[in-house]
Amino acid sequence: MTTFSTKRTSHIGNLIVWTKKLPNFVSQLVVTIVVFAPIYWIVMSSFKGPEEIIRSEPTFWPETWTFGNFERLFTSTKYLVFLGNSLFLSISTAVVTVLISLGAAYGLYRIRVPGSGRIAGVILLAYMIPGTLLIVPLHQTLSGLGLIDSLTALLLLNVAFTAPFSTWLLRGFILSIPSDLDDAAAIDGAGPVRTMFEIVLPLLRPGMATVAVYSFVFSWTEFVFASQFVSRQELQTLPIGLSAIIGQYNVDWGLVLAGVVFTMLPAVFVFLLVGRFFIGGLIAGATK
């Protein structure tokens, strides 16, 4: 009797726990489907033939698997060139942005250089200027510098747009590190530079990873500047190369789908590698 009563209580307890968890489970399931369904669709369709891709009654699984779309992607487009340019640009942007924003944030929020409050405001203001408004003057400036049609121009522009936000993003991380550590290091004889490199920077790794991922993704998906200031196909990035595949008047759906899959993959790989820092970093940066 006692055992039965205990089991019954246990079942009721489990039921209550599951009932409480159910809304969470359902909402997570819905979000997962909403997020992954288009990706699933793109990936599966990229393995279909031209007739099956556009069929009005779609198939969830390719009836006949084909790698033809991928083969054409690599043979009829300069995908590898676009990929190389995008990787070079995104990684360079990430590295340079981390270096610049780290230096700026450290000066503004840790050392507190004179006028740091106003400088921080101006930096954030720069982030708010829409890039498209700057196309014509930028064209003149870059042309004057001989940088039109170069990846250097895109690197400069990308960093100009990622560094302000990244500097602000690092603010939360820097403020979360107690200044007592600096004092303790000073007592132990460490100068400001050594304190920065040996005490503060190791604690800023999540923040640096956040900035790196943010600037990588920004550069990976950047379209406007890449389309305006680069013309040679040998210098084009993936968003521009893919956009050209879609083209005027007709769309080669198989080629587009294969291109999308191979454009997503590197970004997904990077995110898998450092994504946990990014998410943790965004939360930390927002709350501190």
């Binding site: 556009i54 009005s56 009829s76 070079f88 590295v95 064209h139 003149q140 083209g247 769309v251 450092v274």
Partner: protein
Amino acid sequence: MRTKTFKLAALVTSAALLLGGCAAPAADPAATDPATDSAAKGEIVIWHMEGVPNRVAAFDALAAEYNATNPDFTVRFETQQWDEIYPKIAGTAQAGNQPDILFAIPDFATYVRSLGLGQPVTDVVEGIDASQGLLDASKVAYQDGGEYWAVPLYGMVQLLWYNKVMFETAGLEAPKTYSELLATAKALTKDGVSGIALPAGKNLATDQVLYSLMITGGAANFFDESEGIALDSPETVKAFSLYNDLLEYSPKDSANYAWGEPQAALNSGAAAMAIEKGQYLTPWAAESGLDPSQLGCAPIPVADNGGQSGSIYYSNGAMVLAEDDDRRAGAGAFLTWLMQPDNYGDFLNAEPGLFLPVTTGGADLEQWRQNEVLSQYPECVDLLLKQSETGALFGFVDGQYVEKIGLISGQNIFAQAIQQMYVNGMPPAEASIWAQEQMKAAIE
């Protein structure tokens, strides 16, 4: 674990930087060919907006062939995007680093000229005309002030495309008039199939299909003698009204349609008809799974009373933007070479069916006629050529040259009017007046 992850990340980063660094400075083979560099005075840069891989490959092959002839100036094609070319060419105009040659369509050419770019190419056009014979319709839209401002290269025209199997099953024939088109679309809309697939997004595709129906409805010219806009004519309202009515039999998501979606709907069997240009030929068999003979094509239906045969038609031309005399001569030499019969067929085959010849002998070029796609659709190719003879383009009807037309076409005002009817339920008469006001505001 974290240390390992960081090391791995650092390794990947370094490898990618190395890979990217190696890939980044890749040079254009045409630009570094010692055989051509040794003789050339310089390089002519050509911008075009035909970024589809097969077109890029065809253009690059022609450039390599031309460069192999040791010309004074070698040529290099660079691909641009239609969506981005307006601000980009404005930026280059300001900076003075425009390309030597720019592919254009007539309305875009007026915009480029308004930026202070573009040199007369009358001598080149007249030279090609004398040797190859240029169709009047192809060159008239580039003529202003007694000069030609672009060399016509290839034409584009629309037809009514339809699925013959569906028509035969329903016992229908290709519609010839507005009312027949509407009745056919209605009759074929059943069992999940739409009678027609029309674009209704805010884009050039919608502009062009509507304008084709305006032409066949007698509303091709909507400018008065002083270049004022008069879109409230009964003919225009009738065309607007037809488009709005046809959208009832078009797929529900037509408001997002541009170029590719109506074609996909026709080829997949989701729709029975569509109105577009000759790009429908190439993918038909592979995407529909049907025989080429089952793709039907017909002239754009005309208004029941007072209609006239026609379609939107425009030639894509090459504007010469180089200001230096030598470079201008080099640009002219390349364009003249391109239009020679031996090369012109290969050029047109960059997109079979979409690129139509603008020379009198072009229609009979064996290279073009024997193309593996075109040779399967001889009747439709003939119809495309015939339809070109009666085609027109807004702002350039009957010898017009409306300088501000680029400001109107760039904003897709026709397409916006369609959306006013289709999305907001605005009556056709009001939509035509709304479009008229928008166009007036655009050019004032």
